[in-house]
Amino acid sequence: MDFRFSDDQLTLAEGVRDYLAGTHGPEVLRRLDEQGNRDPAIWQGLVDMGLTGLCVPEAQGGLGVGLPEAALIAAECGRACLAEPLVDTAFVGVPWLVAQGKLDGLEDVVAGTRRVPVAHAINPWEADGAGAALTSVDPLRNLTAAGQTSDDPHLLNLGALMSAAQLVGLADAMLHQAVEYAKIRTQFGQPVGAFQGLKHQLASCSVAIEFAKPVVWRAAQAMQDRLDSAPVHVSHAKVAASDAAMLTAETAIQVHGAMGYTYEVDLHFWMKRSWALCGAWGDRAYHLKRVDDAVLGGTLPIGPEHTFA
C-alpha cells in the first residue's frame, strides 16, 4: 500500500500545470469571454502536449495512461479554468470507449480532429456537441442538448470522477487568489489576512480541499481497478470536491469584499465553473443518496467483520 503518486506522474502533472500557467492565464479567459470562447490555438496546444491521447491505448498512438493520471491532469485543467472540452473527450469519452472495446478511430482523437461528445441520462448535455450552444452560467463552456443519451453507469462514474478532479483544482486556484489578496489588501493598518475572522475561513477551505484530494485520487484508482465499490468511491469524491469548491468559492468572494462581486476580479470565472461542475454528472443530492443507499442499504461492506478499503 502506497498512497503516493510516482515521480513520473507528478512530473506529467507539473508539466501540464506549467504549460497552462504560461499560456492560459486570466487574460486569456477574459479574451475568450469577450471575443468568442473558442480559439483553435488553445486546442492545438493541448493536442501538441499529447493530452488528447493521454488515455488512448499505445496501439492507437496514445500514451495509454490510467485514470489516476488523467484525474491529476483534470485537476490541472480545473486550476487553469480550461474550458476546451479536453476532459470530456479525452478523460471521460476515451476511457468509456476503451472500456467497451471501441478502439476504431481513436487515432483521430490523438490527432485532435475527433471529439467524443458524451451524454448520460443524468447529464444530458454535451460539451461542444453539434448544434447551437445553450446559454450557461459559465460563459466559457459550450453545452449543447444531446440527441442521444446513454444510461451506462460506467460513463456516469467517469464523468462524475473527472468533474470532482476539476473541482479540487478549481478550489485550489480560488484559495490561492483569496490568500494572495488577503496579504496585500490593508485595512485598520494591517493586511486583512492577519485578522482571524478572515484567516480562519480560509483555513477551513484549506482543510476541505486537502481532504477532498485523496478521496478523488482514491476514486480514480478504484475506477482504474474496476472495484465493485468504485461507484461509492466516486460519489464520496464528487460530494467532497463539490463541498470544497463551493465553500472556497463563497469564501473567496467574501474575502475580496465588494471587489469580489465585480467582473474586474478574475475569481468569478472559477466560481462559475465550480458551480456548473457541482451540478454536472449527478449533483450533490444524487451522490449523497448513492452513499446513503450503500451504507444503509447494505451494499457497502461495513461492520466489524470488514476492514475498510
Binding site: F3, H200, V207, R218, D225, P304, T307
Partner: protein, 392 residues
C-alpha cells in the same frame, strides 16, 4: 499509487488479527471493548506487558529497541486490527508514540538504553507535562522552573491536563531553565520520575464522569542532570518535534475506532427505526464521507516519508478528525433520541454512544483547539500574515 495490500501484507494482517482476537477471547477477555482510558488500569498495564512479550508493543521501532522495524503498511494493518478486535486504547500511548520516538530522535545513546527498554517492555508508563494553568493555547508561556543544583535539576511549578499521570511512572516536562527568559527561548525538556515526594498528582473530574487527566504539582522535584533530552534551552524544539510524532501512525488505529463508532450508530439507527428517517440517513451518509476523507487523508499524509517536513495536508488533519467526531457524537444522540439520555447499565455507567457524545466535546479542544489549528493552517500552511500578538 498502490492502494491494495500485498499477499505478504494480508498474511501479516491475518497474523495480527489472529493473535489480537485470541487475546480478547482468552486471557484478556475482561478488558475487551473498554472505551474509557482509565477503567481497569492495572489489567491494562498487564496488557502492555503482554503486547511486549509477543513483540507487538512498538512494532514501528527499530528491532534493536524491541520493535519490528515494521513498514508503514504493517503499522497501518496492526493499528486497524487492534481496533477491530475491540482492544482498548493503549495506556502507554504516550510512551510508545511520543516519548519513545522523541528519545530515538533526540536522545543520547545512554538515554536510549536507560528509557527505551522499559517503554518497549510495557514497564514504564509515560505522561506528558506540557500545559500549565497559564500556558494552554499559548504553550510557550510555560512558567514551571528548573534550576541546576548539585548535579540535579530541581523543578518547581504546576502542569495541568496531564493525562494518566496517576498511573504513570515517568513524565516529560517542559521547564523554564533560563531565569527571566520569555516565550519559546530558555525552555528545556526533562524526564522525571513521577513517583517522588516532590510530585503531587490530583485528578480532575470530567463531564463524562471519568478522571483521565490531572493537575501535577512540582515542589523541589528532582532528576539527575543527564535526564535532559537535547541541550539546555532546546526544549521548545524537542517539544515541537514530539508533537509532529503525534500526527503519526496512531491516527490510523484511531480511525478504525471511529469506524466502529459509526457502525454502532448505524446499527442503533436500524434497530430503532431512525434509519428510515431521510434526515438521519443523509447525516449518516455525510458521516461516512467524512470518515473516508480522514482515511485517505491520513494515508496520504503518512505516505509522505519525510515527516520532518510538515506540509499543508498534515496541518489540516487534527481539525478534520476532531470536528468530524464531535459531529458524530451529535449524530449518535439524534439517532438515540431521548433514550440516549438514560443509562442502561446496571450501575450508573455511561453507554458507549452517550459517552462518545460527551467525550467528543474535548476533541476540538485538546492538542490545540480548532481556533489554534486554523491559525496554524493559515499562517504556516497558507503563508498568511501572523495576527498581532501582545508583549510576551
Amino acid at each position: 499509487m498502490k492502494l491494495g495490500f500485498s499477499a505478504a501484507e494480508e498474511e501479516f494482517r491475518a497474523e495480527c488479527a489472529d493473535w489480537l482476537q485470541g487475546q480478547m477471547a482468552g486471557e484478556f477477555k475482561d478488558i475487551k471493548g473498554i472505551t474509557t482510558l482509565t477503567a481497569k488500569a492495572e489489567r491494562r498495564k498487564e496488557w502492555e506487558q503482554q503486547l511486549a512479550a509477543h513483540k507487538w508493543s512498538c512494532i514501528g521501532w527499530p528491532e534493536k529497541w524491541g520493535g519490528r522495524n515494521a513498514t508503514l503498511a504493517q503499522q497501518v494493518i496492526f493499528a486497524e486490527e487492534y481496533a477491530r478486535a475491540g482492544v482498548p486504547g493503549r495506556v502507554n500511548h504516550i510512551g510508545i508514540e511520543l516519548a519513545g520516538p522523541t528519545i530515538l530522535a533526540f536522545g543520547t545513546e545512554e538515554q536510549k538504553q536507560r528509557f527505551l527498554p522499559g517503554i518497549a517492555a510495557g514497564q514504564t508508563i509515560f505522561c506528558q507535562g506540557f500545559s500549565e494553568p497559564g500556558a494552554g493555547s499559548d504553550l510557550a508561556s510555560v512558567r514551571t522552573k528548573g534550576r541546576l543544583e548539585n548535579g540535579e535539576w530541581v523543578v518547581n511549578g504546576q502542569k495541568i491536563w496531564t493525562s494518566l499521570a496517576h498511573i504513570s511512572d515517568w513524565i516529560f516536562v517542559v521547564t523554564r531553565t533560563e531565569e527571566g527568559s520569555k516565550g519559546p527561548k530558555g525552555l528545556s525538556f526533562l524526564m522525571m520520575d513521577v513517583k517522588q515526594p516532590g510530585i503531587e498528582i490530583r485528578g480532575i473530574k470530567q463531564i463524562n464522569g471519568d478522571a483521565e487527566f490531572n493537575e501535577t504539582f512540582f515542589t523541589d522535584a528532582r532528576c539527575p542532570e543527564d535526564s535532559m533530552i537535547g541541550a539546555v534551552g532546546q526544549g521548545w524544539q524537542i517539544a515541537m518535534g514530539l508533537l509532529a510524532f503525534e500526527r503519526g501512525v496512531s491516527t490510523l488505529g484511531q480511525q478504525m475506532a471511529f469506524r466502529n463508532e459509526l457502525d454502532e450508530i448505524i446499527a442503533a439507527a436500524k434497530a430503532n427505526g431512525q434509519a428510515k428517517n431521510p434526515l438521519i440517513r443523509q447525516r449518516i451518509a455525510k458521516a461516512e464521507i467524512g470518515l473516508r476523507l480522514m482515511r485517505y487523508g491520513a494515508l496520504r499524509m503518512l505516505s509522505n516519508t519525510d515527516h520532518s517536513k510538515i506540509d499543508g495536508a498534515a496541518l489540516t488533519y487534527k481539525i478534520q478528525w476532531a470536528t468530524w467526531r464531535r459531529g458524530l457524537g451529535e449524530l449518535a444522540m439524534d439517532v438515540l433520541g431521548q433514550a440516549g439520555e438514560l443509562a442502561h447499565g446496571s450501575e450508573y455507567e455511561w453507554d458507549v454512544l452517550p459517552n462518545l457524545f460527551l467525550f467528543s466535546r474535548s476533541d476540538t479542544i485538546y492538542g490545540g483547539t480548532n481556533q489554534i489549528q486554523r491559525n496554524l493552517i493559515a499562517e504556516r500552511g497558507l503563508g498568511m500574515p501572523r495576527e498581532p500578538r501582545g508583549d510576551l
